[in-house]
């Protein structure tokens, strides 16, 4: 029987607040009166955003993004984000949305009382370095910000993607032709807080002042078996272009893979059998392809010309009789993936395959609730091989219950297309991740505001680097 003292101690332990995940992320409005975040133009509250002016609504979105991140990270140091909402380069068809990044990187900072040491000789983004060493690191008293952010205030105005302005709601329910500011700011804040290989230059592999970034310890090239921290500049530059073979090999990042990513979609070529099994990209629309073990979809492949006389499938197919009950192979290009698949479906196909027109797998994004047949994207090389084997090509579409989409050996892939994409390569998840992740290079409409599993892998990366 417990004594009163023991019971009191037990109660104290049980009732003690858990070390909650919380960091105070403060958005500092850098705009002058009358413009940007201080724009007094009246606005109607929308999507849970109570702001009554354009400026208020924008600032509310920024603060919501700050709160989302602050609620999932832990730090005793306030994180200051210097933010501007101002006109940026834009025209009728294209425009800069914005950017955010770490305002400082720190290395070899001695820890304060209660803090821990940084990994020696390694750059950390400012907010993380301060969290770990438990202090406000002041490199320039006049520039105390951990993160900078600037976004385009003119979006949707005449001459700037007119009628495609920001959606200021906080509910991820942007209407057609609007851009969800919250998703965009969440993504960019992610970079500013540490989802970046910076300050290492990913295109050249060059390091700032010769020191690696904390990310390099977790970046593994599955072809060479080397981590970035052990590579030369040239090796890092090559690894940044090693499509689908650059992964995040951190414990937390990979631990959340099973609870976050779906099973890998595959095309098993049964005839000619020599072609074997290939990774494919499941479409974001249409039904989910069943797991393996017999619950698969198999059929003969046809590659008919569409009504435009091309293999693109952008127009209705003129000879449905040749398609009925078959799997239609089409090439990527000219029109949306959903358009192609819809045309195949309308002609009686049971499934559709889209072969890429460049390296890697096509993303297969899009929306069309009317599509009821499954579809996948495959590499350009496999598409060529399937065509070469026609009319005897027979394939099976399946999901492999032992492999997660967007991974190699259970490590999530980083985006490393063969053609280096400035601003996109390396510091994002690969587009083969399914479902879509917040930190993919292209922002998708199906994102939530969650940054952790089971919705997203991103917080795992943050834990790996020390958050």
């Amino acid at each position: 029987m417990l004594t009163k003292l023991a019971r009191a101690l037990l109660a104290a332990v049980l009732l003690a607040p858990l070390p909650g995940l919380a960091a105070e992320v403060i958005v500092v409005n850098g705009d002058p009166p009358g413009v940007g975040f201080n724009d007094p133009t009246p606005a109607t509250p929308v999507g849970g955003n109570p702001g009554t002016t354009v400026g208020e609504q924008a600032l509310n979105v920024f603060q919501r993004a700050a709160d989302v991140w602050g609620g999932k990270l832990q730090s005793k140091q306030p994180i200051l984000v210097i933010a501007f909402f101002l006109p940026l380069s834009c025209n009728a068809s294209s425009g800069v949305l914005g950017a955010a990044g770490a305002n400082w990187y720190f290395a070899d900072i001695p820890p304060a009382k209660g803090g821990k040491a940084l990994t020696p000789g390694t750059w950390y983004p400012a907010a993380l370095a301060e969290k770990i060493t438990r202090q406000d690191i002041v490199a320039d008293p006049n520039d105390p910000f951990e993160v900078f952010a600037f976004f385009n205030s003119e979006l949707g105005q005449p001459g700037c993607l007119e009628n495609s302005g920001w959606y200021y709601g906080l509910d991820n329910s942007e209407p057609a032709n609007r851009i969800d500011l919250l998703a965009v700011v969440l993504h960019e804040f992610g970079h500013g807080l540490g989802f970046s290989v910076g300050p290492t230059t990913s295109s050249t592999g060059a390091r700032a002042a010769g020191l690696p970034s904390v990310w390099e310890r977790f970046m593994l090239d599955t072809t060479t078996g080397k981590r970035w921290i052990d590579m030369t500049n040239a090796e890092r530059a090559a690894s940044a272009r090693n499509d689908r073979n650059l992964v995040w090999a951190g414990l937390h990042g990979s631990n959340v893979v099973p609870s976050t990513l779906g099973f890998r979609t595959e095309v098993d070529v049964l005839n000619p059998g020599s072609l074997g099994v290939h990774e494919a990209q499941a479409a974001a629309f249409g039904p989910v392809i069943a797991n393996g073990n017999g619950n698969t979809l198999a059929g003969s492949v046809v590659a008919p010309l569409d009504g435009n006389g091309t293999s693109l499938g952008c127009a209705a197919f003129p000879n449905p009789a040749a398609i009925l009950g078959k799997i239609v192979l089409m090439d990527r290009g000219t029109c949306a993936f959903a358009t192609k698949v819809r045309n195949a479906q309308d002609a009686g196909a049971v499934a559709a395959i889209v072969a890429n027109n460049t390296t890697g797998l096509p993303g297969m994004g899009g929306v069309d609730p009317a599509i009821v047949i499954p579809s996948v994207g495959i590499t350009q090389a496999l598409g060529t091989s399937l065509r070469a084997a026609l009319p005897a090509t027979y394939v099976e579409l399946q999901r492999n219950p032992s492999v997660r989409a967007g991974t190699v050996a259970n490590y999530p892939r980083l985006y490393a297309p063969t053609a280096f994409a400035q601003g996109s390569s390396v510091s994002h998840w690969d587009v083969s991740a399914t479902p879509n992740m917040l930190m993919e290079p292209f922002i998708n409409t199906d994102l939530t505001s969650s940054v952790k599993n089971p919705d997203d892998l991103t917080r795992g990366v943050f834990f790996d680097i020390g958050w």
Partner: protein, 141 residues
């Protein structure tokens, strides 16, 4: 004759002006006071302004559209370099700091494709979208 309005002028000059007063801040509870938020330094504002010149747009009143600044307009916006971006700085209490150049920031762009779809991505989205769409097509409308 209409003269172009330098939107950048109100985008940049007022940023300089806010150096004279504490910036606004929104915080989650507990609410931090404005006094607890540091001021934006003149040097940093200059640096940001300089770095953003290439991205700042000019509203051409005669055409009712935005455009990139001319060389002369960009030069008029530029300020003298203030210095420390892109350099490692030894800190007095130990350790080193590195301030990246904001002009190197990875910009997120949006592009309206034929048919009205909006595609968002980093870098030059126009080039990436030249063939058709990747997952960004998830933002198709």
């Amino acid at each position: 004759m209409h003269r172009p309005i330098l939107i950048a002028a109100f985008a940049a000059v007022p940023m300089l002006a806010v150096a004279a007063e504490p910036p606004n801040a929104q915080t989650k509870a507990p609410v931090a006071t404005a006094a607890s938020v540091p001021q934006v330094s003149q040097a940093r504002l200059d640096q940001i302004r300089r770095a953003l010149v290439a991205q700042i747009a000019v509203y051409e009143q005669a055409e009712g559209a935005m455009r990139a600044p001319t060389t002369a307009e960009a030069a008029a916006l530029a300020v003298s370099p203030s210095g420390t971006a892109g350099q490692a700085i030894a800190l007095p209490k130990g350790g080193v700091a590195f301030r990246p150049d904001i002009s190197d920031a990875s910009l997120l762009r949006a592009t309206r494709e034929p048919g009205g779809r909006i595609r968002m991505g980093h870098g030059d989205v126009t080039k990436a979208a030249a063939n058709d769409v990747r997952k960004g097509d998830g933002h198709a409308h």
